[in-house]
């Protein structure tokens, strides 16, 4: 019961040399994984000529051109016409005019980004909610055929989801779910819910039943006991599960390409299309990718403790 911090197993204290080697490996690995991210960010603040220069430029003059191009659509004009315009209203206006173009209007980036937010967070919320309830049920009640049902739930992840892309495409067309946020939320929820059930069942199994029983004795219904006693103790598991679900839904590309094209299109299929608008505009693509990385980064940093515990879950006993 008492979670005293007794050393259940003896750990040999690593020597300073071992620590240094381990540290070096970790730093090296971090560098390797961070290089692509750094490269994307650096490209986003290069000018288009700098971005495609060979050998690649490490030292360059940063510019916001990539971000300007990401957020706007532009039309090419004659220098005379541009001269005749009133003074530029901002930095982007100025940069665009220097390329003999004028801003025609906002790009679709923010609406697509918004779609991604709605669909990813919506499906994560649904998958985690359903997963928590299902996991609680499997954990606490004698569900008939529980093992078979759990295996069935797991089996939905055994083939790559894209294998059923065509049937889903046809079904969605029939039901009018193609290119709708609702359709994408349902799809990602369906994919994620099995992961959520399995992860959360592990966490809820670890919460002693006595807590709910105590709450029921204390005058609460099972649902109230679940809400007031089980959920607060399952937050770690829920947070870890939510991150896994969110990352999948946020990054998903194949179904997004297939099922969304217009109003419900998410950012992943949109970002590559930026390159087509006016040549090889790598800085704009990189800018779109940089911004696209931010929500997951923020979410992960906020929940990093829970995530760490979620990943090492089961490996370390209290």
């Amino acid at each position: 019961m008492s979670s005293t911090n007794t050393t259940a197993h003896s750990v040999v204290e690593p020597t300073p040399t071992v620590k240094r080697i381990a540290g070096a490996i970790v730093i090296l690995y971090a560098l390797v994984t961070l290089v692509p991210l750094a490269w994307i960010f650096l490209t986003s603040i290069k000018s288009p000529p700098d971005s495609i220069s060979y050998p690649p430029k490490i030292v360059f003059t940063p510019t916001l051109e990539g971000f300007c191009n990401l957020f706007t659509t532009r039309t090419r004009q004659t220098p005379d016409y541009i001269q005749s315009l009133p003074a530029p209203t901002g930095a982007c206006d100025e940069i665009t005019r220097s390329r003999n173009m004028v801003i025609a209007g906002p790009s679709n980036y923010w609406p697509r980004f918004g779609n991604s937010l709605v669909i990813a967070f919506g499906s994560t919320f649904l998958a985690v909610s359903l997963g928590t309830l299902a996991a609680y049920g499997f954990s606490r009640f004698r569900v008939p055929l529980a093992d078979d049902l759990l295996f069935f739930i797991l089996s939905t992840r055994m083939m790559p989801p894209i294998a059923v892309a065509i049937p889903i495409y046809l079904m969605y067309r029939q039901f009018g779910l193609s290119d709708t946020a609702l359709g994408m939320i349902l799809l990602y929820t369906a994919v994620n819910v099995s992961l959520a059930v399995w992860l959360l069942k592990g966490f809820i199994d670890e919460i002693p039943r006595e807590y709910e029983e105590a709450a029921m004795i204390d005058g609460y219904t099972r649902l109230q006991a679940f809400w007031k006693v089980v959920l607060p103790q399952a937050t770690t598991g829920i947070a870890a599960t939510a991150i896994f679900c969110l990352i999948f839904a946020w990054n998903e590309y194949a179904f997004a390409v297939l099922l969304t094209s217009g109003s419900a299109q998410t950012a992943p299929p949109f970002i590559p299309t930026i390159i087509g608008e006016g040549g090889q505009d790598w800085p704009a693509v990189a800018a779109g990718t940089t911004i696209f990385l931010v929500p997951i980064l923020v979410f992960t940093i906020i929940l990093r403790k829970q995530l760490l515990r979620g990943i090492t879950f089961g490996a370390v006993r209290k």
């Binding site: 979670s3 006595e210 029983e213 709450a215 029921m216 004795i217 204390d218 005058g219 109230q224």
Partner: protein, 365 residues
């Protein structure tokens, strides 16, 4: 406060019968201990009274009302769990106030009642602490506080002292009994520890394999065990059994143990010839050189105020609790004398005690 009445309660898990046809009544303000080894059905019985488990058949009446199938939350009972089950995400105050919150008690009254309860249990100085950092005894008191704060109809406790170390357990036994004397709550207390049961309970139900072997006061259970199981389970060292083969007739006042006549309480019933056991408590044995029941000292255990001497006799090893004054050599020949008024005779086949004047006393008070 109120009376708990259990009628023919039975619980089956698949093929396993956890509780078999139990009936008993805990009177208002009474402290009942359900005593037995693990797996004997005592916790299942308690959980059925609490509503955490539904009986296969039988009835549970609380204060005259049939609550057999009522939800736990609707029974107005408190339960103290073996591992306390304090809500880890709440501090001490919130833990104790939790049952009041479900009843919609006003905030000011909640504060007053929690503080009053905390004072009673001497934990009013730790109300703001998190429960995860508390020592075992304080956790125990918080769990008790959560139970008594709403003044329920009865308390159910499932081995609440099981996780405490021996020294502290004695302190808590005393505190629990004192608490009971003060608030007179009907209490059902599950334990496998005979000392806890003996020290605290008004009544004890000794359970074995889902069956209540005996229900009575600690004195009855100790002095007039209804079965060999009870006689063996209660007392340390337990009752000695000296086996003999015989039939019994009503009115007999002695039996023959290896040819030696031993006076016993007057038999109250006949018994067909078979294997019998003479039950003797260690403290009802005296050493007497003239006694025809002979044995050799096998070992002794010095306990300060007295000592337990094991003697090897023709009927097996017999342990006697005698004064610590005399010291014994291993192998020393001794004679044993029993207090005839306190002897019990059991039928080995059924394990049941044979009715005798010893048991008649029980019926006449």
């Amino acid at each position: 406060m109120s009376e708990i009445k259990i009628v023919n309660l039975r619980k089956q898990f698949g093929d396993f019968v956890a509780v078999e046809d139990s009936s008993f009544t805990v009177e208002d303000g009474e402290f009942l201990a359900l005593l037995g080894p693990s797996g004997c059905g005592k916790t299942t019985t308690l959980r059925m009274i609490a509503g955490l488990e539904l009986p296969t058949s039988g009835k549970i009446h609380l204060d005259g009302e049939d609550v057999t199938f009522n939800r736990a939350s609707a029974r107005d009972i408190a339960f103290v769990f073996q591992l306390f089950a304090l809500y880890p995400h709440m501090n001490v105050f919130r833990n104790i106030s939790f049952p009041l919150l479900s009843q919609g008690v006003a905030k000011a009254e909640i504060r007053a009642r929690v503080e009053e309860t905390a004072k009673l249990l001497r934990i009013d100085h730790i109300l703001d602490r998190s429960v995860s950092g508390l020592a075992g005894g304080d956790r125990q008191r918080v769990a008790l506080g959560r139970a008594i704060v709403r003044r329920p109809k009865c308390f159910l406790m499932d081995e609440p002292l099981g996780t405490l170390d021996a020294e502290f357990r004695e302190v808590m036994v005393h505190e629990l009994r004192e608490l009971h004397n003060r608030i007179h709550a009907t209490t059902v207390y599950v334990t496998h520890d005979q000392h806890e049961a003996m020290a605290m309970a008004d009544k004890i139900a000794v359970m074995n394999h889902g069956v209540i072997e005996q229900y009575g006061t600690p004195q009855e259970i100790y002095n007039r065990p209804a079965s060999m199981y009870v006689a063996d389970f209660i007392g340390s060292p337990p009752m000695n059994f000296m086996r003999f083969h015989s039939g019994l007739k009503r009115g007999m006042r002695s039996i023959f143990l290896d040819g030696v006549e031993v006076a016993v309480p007057e038999m109250g019933e006949d018994a067909a010839p078979g294997e019998m056991a003479l039950g003797v408590r260690p403290e009802h044995i005296r050493f007497s050189d003239r006694s025809p029941i002979r044995g050799a000292v096998y070992g002794s255990e010095y306990l300060g105020t007295n000592q337990i001497v094991a003697v090897e006799t023709a009927a097996g090893i017999v342990k006697a609790r005698v004064s610590a004054d005399r010291s014994f050599r291993l192998g020393e020949a001794v004679g044993l004398e029993f207090n005839p008024a306190k002897l019990a005779v059991f039928d080995c086949a059924s394990g049941r005690a044979i009715a005798s004047s010893l048991y008649a006393e029980a019926r006449h008070g």
